[in-house]
């Protein structure tokens, strides 16, 4: 078992230039190089029009498949586009929400979430049709019919306040990670501590995968009262540090002290001392 994807960025092709990466994304190039090129452009935040051109082609390229039949290149292209800026990105991503591959839909939703453009909210609400009862697993697959966690998280981030009553149903969903995603969204939409405390409870779940999920959700939620609980969770320190950094950024954003790191308030000081102790 590995950590949650936090160690893969030190690729061996770190000496690539922007031009090499763009050239290696072209359809004539071998699949694994295109896959890496897509990651590279996202990681280094290359929003040049030629980079976006290549990524938009890759996003829709279903000819390149990994050995298990998955659309790995599409997923990496979507992930990269989520991090970049260009007026074409949001509509291109929205068109891929109907992709037949579950994992592509999941990554596309996450990319739309990071684009922070509320125009996709109606598309996301459509995924919740039928409510929590319709959110069942597919026989023989390790996932539900739709990527509900991603949908709920995105709706919270995008401040889709009208949909809070529907999200509440998902607090009772049998899958713990779906419950956590619902709690995270509801805290972001309502700022009610009861939802933050649901996430804190998740930090004490018996399964490590659930605790990891709760860490990430709590960090993203901005529920500051969960900070000490994050630090005390039985999980890898890398994840706890990331969750605390997310809380720190959320706090800066909320308190409007974003531009004054020289004079931190008591909350920021507390977050920093928790982080120091986890290094």
């Amino acid at each position: 078992m590995t950590h949650m994807g936090d160690e893969h960025s030190n690729g061996m092709r770190i000496d690539w230039t922007v031009e090499t990466a763009i050239a290696n994304l072209q359809p004539t190039v071998e699949g694994s190089l295109r896959y890496y090129a897509a990651w590279w452009l996202g990681h280094f935040r290359i929003s040049r029009p030629e980079a976006i051109d290549g990524l938009l082609v890759a996003l829709n390229d279903e000819t390149h498949r990994s050995p298990d039949g998955g659309l790995a290149l599409c997923r990496n292209a979507a992930r990269a586009l989520g991090k970049l800026q260009d007026p074409r990105i949001v509509s291109a991503l929205r068109q891929r929400l109907t992709c037949e591959d579950y994992y592509v839909r999941e990554v596309v939703i996450q990319a739309l979430e990071s684009q922070a453009d509320p125009s996709c909210i109606p598309d996301l609400i459509a995924f919740l049709e039928g409510g929590a009862e319709a959110a069942i697993s597919i026989p023989g697959k390790p996932h539900l019919v739709q990527p509900y966690e991603a949908v709920l998280e995105a709706l919270g981030t995008l401040q889709a306040k009208s949909v809070a009553p529907l999200i509440q149903e998902f607090l009772l969903h049998p899958v713990p990670k779906v419950q956590l995603a619902a709690a995270r969204a509801l805290y972001q939409l309502t700022q009610e501590p009861q939802y933050g405390e649901r996430l804190v409870l998740g930090l004490r779940h018996e399964k490590l995968v659930v605790r990891r999920s709760a860490l990430m959700d709590l960090g993203a939620s901005g529920y500051i009262a969960g900070a000490s609980a994050i630090a005390a969770t039985l999980a890898e320190n890398s994840l706890k540090l990331t969750a605390l950094k997310d809380l720190f950024n959320a706090h800066l954003h909320q308190s409007g002290t974003k531009n004054d790191p020289e004079n931190l308030d008591a909350t920021s000081e507390q977050l920093i001392s928790l982080m120091d102790a986890l290094l």
């Binding site: 078992m1 590995t2 950590h3 936090d6 160690e7 960025s9 030190n10 018996e206 490590l208 039985l234 999980a235 890898e236 320190n237 890398s238 540090l241 990331t242 950094k245 720190f248 950024n249 800066l252 974003k258 790191p261 020289e262 931190l264 920021s268 977050l271 920093i272 982080m275 120091d276 290094l279």
Partner: protein, 210 residues
């Protein structure tokens, strides 16, 4: 001092633990003895992919302290980066300068960011009194160079660790304080993460007040 015989049932309790939490409790029990003889077993626990048990084992190794250092250095796991991170965390916590070559290499060259992070932190936590003063200038120059470089790591958490380590190093050794302040200013000039910027300001403030 506990003998190996006393510890055997405690080893068995770890090996036979039915759940991750039972294992963590068994490791805590073993650590209560602070037995040098248990060092190898504790190092083994670092590779079990059980973060709770590993945290307990790291605390146990740090409590045993210097007698654990040679075995830690001899048993650094080159295949499992999780275990390697925990082992470096134990070495960082103990602070024995015998681990300096290992910490320098891990901080700058390990592919796993968690290993670079803990080793970087450890470079700021060395117990200089345990090293012959004749060796101080060379060793301290190496630490300063390495921390300055780690302050430019591509991962924010390694840069954060470098700032904390620079603060500790600059607080410990007065003769290096000016160089540390300059290094922190260099970090500040290019830093993009708010939390790292905030940490740099805090370190500058702390060091200037000394």
């Amino acid at each position: 001092m506990s003998t190996t015989l006393d510890l055997y049932p405690l080893y068995q309790a770890i090996d036979n633990a039915g759940s991750a939490e039972d294992m963590r409790r068994a490791v805590v029990k073993l650590c209560e003895h602070r037995a040098e003889a248990s060092v190898l077993k504790l190092i083994e626990v670092l590779g079990y992919n059980n973060p709770g048990a590993a945290i307990a084992a790291v605390d146990g190794l740090i409590a045993i302290g210097r007698p654990a250092v040679d075995l830690l250095l001899d048993n650094i796991d080159s295949f499992d980066y999780g275990a390697r991170a925990w082992a470096n965390r134990a070495l960082a916590g103990i602070g024995d300068p015998r681990a300096l070559p290992n910490l320098l290499d891990a901080a700058l060259n390990d592919f796993a960011l968690s290993v670079r992070r803990v080793a970087t932190k450890g470079l700021g936590n060395l117990q200089w009194d345990w090293l012959d003063t004749v060796e101080w200038p060379t060793a301290q120059e190496q630490v300063l160079q390495a921390l300055t470089q780690a302050g430019k790591d591509e991962e924010w958490v390694v840069r954060y660790a470098a700032v904390v380590a620079l603060e500790n190093f600059g607080s410990q050794i007065e003769t290096n304080r000016e160089a540390v302040l300059a290094s922190l200013q260099t970090c500040l000039a290019t830093e993009v993460e708010s939390v790292v910027c905030a940490r740099i300001h805090k370190a500058l403030k702390t060091l200037k007040a000394l």
